[in-house]
């Protein structure tokens, strides 16, 4: 028997939009309907017709419906819209080194941890290496390199979008005197639990990073275009 060939493409391709290559009779042959019929004794296989239940004579005849809709066609209902997180590019998998393209950390090489339900990417420097904390980043402002770090041992399940929400502070009414005082240094202090989270993730990550020679130096350096580098020809 000849080896089975895997079919590539439709059986009846479009020559021009609207005009197919093969006629009805040709397609009948191509689909093998003749073989199916031959297998079932000259006819296409059918389901057994359902035997109608025997009606007792005393049964009430079916009542005519009260209402007939004007259209015979059923109205199609719109499917409820599902909000999915943005489709992740194929090149970005957990553990990939990403290059940030915008913002304060432009050019920094950073490790990708996971995609959050909002679609944003959870990313960390690690903080000790290049100063990038646990941060959310949009996929559009990122280049995915082909360098991967092994993060299978790191647990990132506790991080969700809620973790990054701003704390709601009550606005206190300012007295006249306070109004004209210059806004005192209201530096936002990073809460201790965030520092601790950063530390746990980073110590686990550093173990994976230090295994690969020169990877730590790579992550601490920023990316930039030099003379002769053509972004559309670079392999990342």
């Amino acid at each position: 028997m000849a080896p089975k060939k895997v079919r590539t493409g439709p059986r009846n391709p479009d020559l021009v939009p609207g005009i197919k290559k093969y006629s009805r009779s040709k397609m009948y042959h191509k689909r093998g309907l003749w073989a199916i019929k031959a297998k079932h004794g000259g006819k296409l296989p059918t389901h057994e017709p359902k035997q109608a239940a025997a009606q007792p004579d005393s049964a009430v005849p079916e009542k005519a419906p009260k209402f007939y809709p004007a259209d015979d066609v059923k109205k199609t209902r719109a499917k409820p819209k599902k909000n999915n997180p943005t489709k992740l590019r194929g090149s970005i998998t957990p553990g990939t080194v990403l290059i940030l393209l915008a913002g304060r950390f432009m050019g920094k090489r950073v490790v990708f941890l996971k995609q959050l339900p909002s679609g944003l990417l959870l990313v960390t420097g690690p903080f000790k290496v290049n100063g990038v904390p646990l941060k959310r980043v949009n996929q559009a402002y990122v280049i995915g390199t082909s360098t991967k770090v092994d993060i299978s041992s790191i647990d990132v399940s506790k991080f969700e979008d809620k973790y990054f929400m701003k704390e709601k502070t009550k606005k206190t009414k300012k007295t006249e005197g306070e109004f004209f005082k210059s806004d005192e240094e209201e530096k936002s202090i990073v809460p201790q639990h965030k520092k601790d989270d950063q530390k746990t993730i980073d110590t686990a990550l550093m173990k994976a990073i230090e295994v690969v020679p020169e990877l730590k130096a790579y992550l601490s350096a920023r990316f930039s275009l030099r003379d002769g580098m053509k972004p559309h020809q670079l392999v990342f």
Binding site: V97, I99, R109, T145, S146, T147, E214, L215, A217, Y218, A221, F223, Q233, L234, V235, F236
Partner: protein
């Protein structure tokens, strides 16, 4: 000033334009003043304009329009692949391809290596300068 690489049957050439860019091919027949019939072990024999070819130094011994089998055998005998990869032109192309395929991390490692090498060279130079000054 004389020409050294001639268009002849058996001349190995590099395609420098078009879909087969970068492939090594053998001139197998001449069509007319501008075109040749060209063949390679992994391509369908086709015609190509001379302007799309860069002639190499390598020439193999084949009859006009040989069968694919004969062509492959002649190429093996003349060891075209190895001769090409050892020639300075061939080596340069291989380096170009390697450099183009480096990923971002590789480029970083190359940069570190270059700096290290430069450092070693400078040290040696400084030593030599000291000796000559002394």
């Amino acid at each position: 000033m004389t020409f050294k690489r001639f268009v002849e049957i058996g001349r190995v050439a590099l395609v420098n334009y078009g879909k087969e860019y970068g492939q090594l091919v053998v001139i197998v027949d001449i069509v007319d003043q501008n075109r040749a019939l060209v063949d390679a072990p992994d391509m369908i024999r086709s015609q190509i304009n001379f302007k799309r070819l860069s002639l190499t130094d390598i020439k193999i011994d084949i009859p006009r329009s040989p069968k694919k089998k004969t062509l492959i055998a002649a190429m093996e005998e003349a060891d075209v692949k190895n001769k090409w990869e050892k020639s300075s032109w061939g080596r340069k192309l291989i380096v170009q391809q390697r450099r183009a395929s480096l990923n971002d991390f590789d480029r970083f490692k190359v940069m570190l290596a270059k700096i290290k090498r430069g450092g070693v060279i400078k040290q040696e130079l400084a030593k030599l300068k000291k000796e000559s000054a002394a």
